[in-house]
């Protein structure tokens, strides 16, 4: 490129630098669109998951309507699909697991957030809980079959009820073991967030450690601990493999907490690949839709509560 001035003095602008600036703009544009594209892709994936689930479950939604969630019969042979036994199974196992896990996870949170904040002992417990959180679900299930189920069976014999061993009770214990590390780590984080000046104020008034924990720490961290419990509920609801291996796969309404049953996730895991006709498949997917919506809502509520607490 050349610019000519009046007295024939030529000013040449190196074409190299212009090319460079063109490249620069091109690189910039490509780079920005790759970043934006990846972000949009994640949004599309989530929307796609939702749409795919809804569209594939349409036949069952049309056929059964609201009766799907209130129907108690699940009978592929006569093409009658009611999901209430699985909804009940999921709710009972999850809440039972939550009930078992709450005292333990709160104890670990207080221990690590208040008594032993650092040091060998706290490091040991922390790495142990992290390790527990990393053990795959299928290994929990495997261990459950060979270690936990015989114990539960003996327990049921003592109680004088039908000794299945497998069933809601065993699944809940395994679920509880699986969610303790998670809710404990959330609990520890929120307990550490309690400002030390209000604790020190209480100590200065002569309060014992127990009184400080009971009257200052726990009330302050209440909403965060609650959020941790909510988040672990979300995990328990969607947990598949360990429960599938231990719950006994029984498609009727559960009659007691020791009876075999099926959860929403486990019925999908068991029957999806053998669902031979469209209505059967779409009924299983409708269960998946319910599971997806419930866990998403619970998850978002928990995260929102924690976020509010951290901001405060």
């Amino acid at each position: 490129m050349e610019l000519t001035l009046s007295n024939n003095n030529k000013i040449t602008i190196s074409s190299n630098s212009i090319k460079y600036s063109d490249n620069w703009k091109l690189g910039e544009n490509i780079f920005n669109s790759v970043l934006t594209g990846s972000g949009i892709m994640i949004i599309m994936i989530v929307i796609g998951i939702f749409l795919t689930l809804i569209l594939s479950s349409l036949p069952s939604i049309k056929q059964f309507g609201i009766n799907f969630v209130t129907g108690t019969t699940w009978d592929p042979v006569f093409e009658r699909f009611g999901a209430l036994p699985f909804i009940a199974g999921t709710l009972i196992t999850s809440f039972l697991a939550l009930l078992i896990s709450i005292p333990f996870s709160i104890a670990i949170s207080i221990l690590l957030g208040e008594y032993f904040k650092r040091g060998i002992f706290s490091g040991f417990i922390k790495s142990m809980t992290e390790l527990l959180a990393g053990v795959p679900s299928v290994i929990f299930g495997f261990w459950g079959i060979f270690f936990l189920v015989p114990i539960v069976r003996e327990f049921e014999k003592i109680l004088g009820i039908t000794a299945y061993g497998i069933g809601i009770f065993s699944s809940s214990i395994i679920l509880a073991i699986m969610i303790i590390p998670f809710s404990a780590s959330v609990g520890r984080e929120v307990i550490e967030l309690v400002p030390s000046d209000i604790k020190e104020a209480a100590y200065a008034m002569g309060a014992t450690r127990y009184e400080v924990i009971k009257k200052i720490v726990l009330p302050y961290a209440k909403s965060g601990i609650f959020a941790g419990i909510i988040l672990s509920l979300g995990r328990a609801l969607g947990e598949t493999m360990a429960v599938t291996m231990l719950i006994g796969n029984f498609n009727k309404m559960p009659t007691s907490i020791f009876a075999p049953a099926n959860t929403m996730a486990s019925v999908i895991a068991n029957e999806f690949s053998e669902s031979t006709f469209e209505l059967y498949t779409s009924s299983l997917i409708e269960i998946g839709v319910l599971l997806f919506i419930v866990s998403t809502v619970i998850n978002l509520i928990g995260k929102w509560v924690i976020k509010r607490m951290v901001v405060r």
């Binding site: 690189g27 910039e28 970043l35 934006t36 594209g37 990846s38 972000g39 892709m41 994640i42 949004i43 994936i45 989530v46 796609g48 998951i49 795919t52 689930l53 594939s56 333990f104 104890a107 670990i108 008594y115 417990i125 142990m128 527990l132 990393g134 053990v135 795959p136 679900s137 299928v138 290994i139 495997f142 261990w143 270690f147 303790i180 404990a184 014992t208 450690r209 127990y210 924990i213 609801l237 969607g238 947990e239 598949t240 493999m241 291996m245 996730a265 999908i268 895991a269 999806f272 690949s273 997917i285 998946g288 599971l291 997806f292 866990s295 998403t296 619970i298 998850n299 978002l300 995260k303």
Partner: protein
């Protein structure tokens, strides 16, 4: 305030402390049981033949888990190849435009994806890839695992990149380096250790995932490296063998569980080393 009142309070204090320590230790106990039990049952099954040969038919003793080991590796490689570029770019986008509307939508999507039950991811893998292709495949399994891994990578990438001081970026831009080169050559390398930690944690998470593979990779009794064919994986093998009635297979499943636990343990230790050694110091 009497003397006895004080005494009662201090006794209460001690009792509470004892209960907390006791209950916490009780909660750690199952972990020892699980690890101890798995390793006790599994170690005796592990030998060279176990990790270097393929499975034998039922009734014949011997045989190993080579096909599952190779299968798991292939699935993880596919997942990593897909999840890393998308995850890091999306993480970069959120950290660079942290206040934009699109960013908050991406963040929400990442949260939703992270909370999606693994079995639902399995269904999605089936409908998006297995059904159109007409058969189960390693590729569909790898993509399902990538979906599970993606949120972890986006989140750690965003968190690490946000911690990098703005002065670093300013210095590079002031030298006339184009924005995208600043990001690629200054910001990303500075955040590399954090991003790598995220990737390894992601691998540790998907290495044991079974549910997304049930309807995608499906499992394969024979040795296969074809990514368009069904493939076996360690968690699938554990699931199939554990629920089978054969004692030989249970033994192999314990061995496979031990291998898997050690693998995940090594990944966890690696992340610790990375975090401690290459901590960003600003």
């Amino acid at each position: 305030m009497t003397e006895t009142n004080l005494k009662i309070r201090s006794i209460k204090n001690i009792i509470f402390r004892t209960i907390i320590i006791g209950v916490a230790l009780l909660a750690i106990l199952p972990l020892f049981f699980i690890i101890f039990y798995v390793i006790k049952e599994g170690l005796s099954a592990i030998n060279w033949e176990f990790i270097s040969s393929v499975a034998k038919p039922i009734g014949e003793s011997g045989g190993g888990i080579l096909s599952a080991l190779v299968g798991s590796s292939i699935l993880i490689v596919i997942a990593v190849i897909i999840a890393i570029p998308i995850g890091i770019s999306a993480g970069l986008y959120i950290s660079e435009h942290s206040d934009s509307k699109l960013s908050s939508m991406i963040r929400l999507s990442v949260e939703v994806l992270q909370g999606t039950p693994s079995i639902v991811i399995g269904i999605i893998g089936y409908f998006w890839f297995v059904k159109p292709m007409g058969h189960f495949s390693a590729l569909s399994g790898g993509i399902a695992l990538a979906l599970m891994m993606l949120p972890m990578i986006v989140k750690t990438a965003e968190e690490t990149l946000r911690m990098i001081p703005f002065s670093l970026k300013e210095a590079s831009l002031a030298l006339g380096v184009p924005y995208y080169k600043t990001i690629l050559k200054v910001i990303l390398p500075a955040g590399l250790s954090g991003i790598m930690t995220g990737v390894i944690i992601g691998i540790a998470r998907i290495a044991g995932e079974t549910a997304p593979l049930l309807f995608t990779a499906f499992g394969n009794a024979f040795f296969s490296t074809n990514i368009l064919k069904p493939i076996d994986s360690l968690p699938l093998l554990i699931f199939n063998y554990a629920t089978s009635p054969y004692t030989d297979w249970h033994k192999m499943a314990w061995g496979a569980s031990t291998v898997l636990i050690f693998f995940i343990l090594i990944l966890n230790i690696t992340t610790r080393i990375i975090v401690n050694k290459w901590k960003i110091k600003y």
